[in-house]
């Protein structure tokens, strides 16, 4: 009986101590982001909706912080203390790479998880060139322009004829024939023409792809409709 009374007293004291102690709220933790990457657009902001952040201690008023450029995030809803639904905003042309993401509440800031800005590389080849009826004994010339949009920092572009048979030459079918001289290509008005089978390389990080061609027609070239396809390859 005495022991019971003592135990009750201890329990009451313990409860009193507990009730008297201040509640210390915990800072949020961030365990994952899904999806944890996105690809920006070349000209307009891309919004990635429904991004789920998982962790602990998410409370009302929590915000998402993203370091680095080109990305921001807004909280759509705090679904529970362990989940936030958010939208990530990727600005046009946001540089590729990783960004540190943290969750901030009045109780503190979480550790970081990474969100990756994917690389993109879009090459738009120059428009087709029609040299029309070419003058025998002369040179027919034409030009067009392509473009590159990318968020990587370094790249180059090459252009050449890559076909296996008679590379560099305009050819025709029915019957098959090629012109006597190869197509000449260059990438600027002041540049030097190169045979299309040798190809040309644009200067580093080109965003415009000016494209000039010149085709000489010899007296002995057979009449007919000739063509050639020049392949432009971007090398990130």
């Amino acid at each position: 009986m005495k022991k019971s009374i003592i135990l009750i007293i201890i329990l009451v004291l313990g409860l009193a101590v507990t009730l008297a102690s201040p509640v210390i709220a915990a800072a949020p933790t961030l365990g994952g982001i899904a999806p944890n990457n996105g690809t920006p657009g070349p000209t307009a902001t891309v919004d990635i909706t429904g991004v789920i952040l998982t962790g602990t201690n998410f409370i009302t008023g929590a915000t998402i912080l993203v370091d680095g450029s080109g990305v921001s995030a807004t909280v759509n809803s705090i679904d529970s203390p362990t989940q936030i639904t958010a939208t990530f905003h990727l600005t046009a042309g946001a540089p590729a790479g990783t960004r540190n993401v943290t969750v901030h509440t009045t109780d503190g800031t979480s550790g970081a998880q990474t969100f990756t800005i994917n690389s993109y590389f879009n090459l738009s080849a120059p428009a087709a060139i029609n040299l029309g009826v070419m003058t025998v004994g002369g040179s027919a010339t034409g030009n067009s322009t392509g473009s590159v949009s990318t968020n990587i920092s370094t790249w180059s572009v090459t252009a050449k004829d890559v076909k296996a048979t008679d590379p560099g030459f305009m050819t025709k079918t029915s019957p098959y024939a090629k012109l006597a001289t190869p197509l000449q290509i260059k990438n600027s008005t002041s540049g030097i023409f190169a045979n299309a089978n040798d190809g040309i390389t644009y200067s580093s990080n080109p965003t415009n792809l000016p494209f000039y061609v010149s085709q000489q027609v010899a007296t002995g070239d057979a009449p007919g409709a000739y063509s050639i396809t020049i392949t432009f390859t971007g090398v990130p």
Binding site: N118, V133, M134, Q215, T229
Partner: protein
């Protein structure tokens, strides 16, 4: 078993690191270059194969322009065309127009004085030239006759002379053309001045100068390629000639 699980875990981690770095890449493209090599055109026909360069009206000449239609084959639309004139000698061409793969027109200009003779016409299509067809600039000669002469009242027994106040002229497009002058009346009493069909006794005398006269019935010729036509006459009336007003018409004829 534990090792396998470890490898799977490592692989999963590696994949998790790689996948987020996926690159959206559209890093190739092509540009087509096309062009036509023209065939050698053929020239089959010219709509007009000759023309006389000048029309002379009262001594005024003008340039003749003709639209020449050339028919053939393989005239490709979009090709650069020219109409070529061999030994042009004054003939020029312009306004070359493609109509169909078989028809091209061009304007030929044949100026006054353009030399007579054949020209070869061909068509060049973007560097390739057809065979030729012949276009002929015709000979022409046009004469402006000397002005009329009035001898007035002729004295019996005395030669009455006169000359045209304005000599005649010749316009020709070839050398060697000649002009003859003789009585237009080649019937009865040819070479004589007439009055109501009655002739003077003596023949009418004509010539290119005062000192070289001949009877009008046989007439005379000016020097070849002469471009001016001076004209002299002489008539002697005799005692037996009836009184009256006499006349004669001399015809000047160009020959080439």
């Amino acid at each position: 078993m534990k090792k396998i699980l470890s490898l799977v875990l490592i692989l999963a981690v590696v994949l998790a690191m790689i996948l987020p770095m996926a690159v959206s890449a559209d890093n190739t493209g092509t540009a087509g270059v096309t062009g036509d090599v023209p065939p050698t055109p053929t020239l089959d026909h010219l709509s007009q194969t000759s023309e006389t360069p000048n029309t002379v009206l009262n001594g005024a000449s003008k340039t003749v322009s003709e639209t020449l239609t050339s028919t053939g084959t393989d005239f490709e639309q979009g090709a650069a065309y020219s109409v070529n004139i061999g030994s042009a000698n004054g003939v020029t061409v312009d306004n070359v127009v493609w109509h169909t793969t078989a028809t091209i027109t061009a304007d030929l200009h044949i100026p006054a004085g353009c030399a007579a003779g054949d020209r070869t016409i061909s068509i060049t299509e973007s560097g390739r030239t057809s065979g030729t067809k012949t276009f002929t600039v015709n000979n022409y000669i046009s004469i402006s006759a000397p002005s009329a002469i009035s001898l007035g009242v002729m004295t019996i027994g005395v030669a009455k002379t006169g000359q045209s106040g304005t000599g005649g002229t010749v316009d020709a497009n070839q050398t060697g053309a000649t002009v003859t002058a003789k009585d237009a009346n080649q019937g009865a009493n040819t070479g004589h001045m007439l009055s109501s069909g009655n002739p003077l006794t003596n023949a009418f005398q004509i010539g290119p100068s005062g000192g070289t006269l001949t009877t009008a019935d046989t007439g005379f010729s000016y020097a070849a390629s002469a471009t001016s036509l001076p004209f002299y006459v002489s008539q002697t009336a005799l005692t037996d000639d009836a009184a009256g007003t006499y006349s004669i018409t001399i015809t000047f004829t160009g020959v080439y």
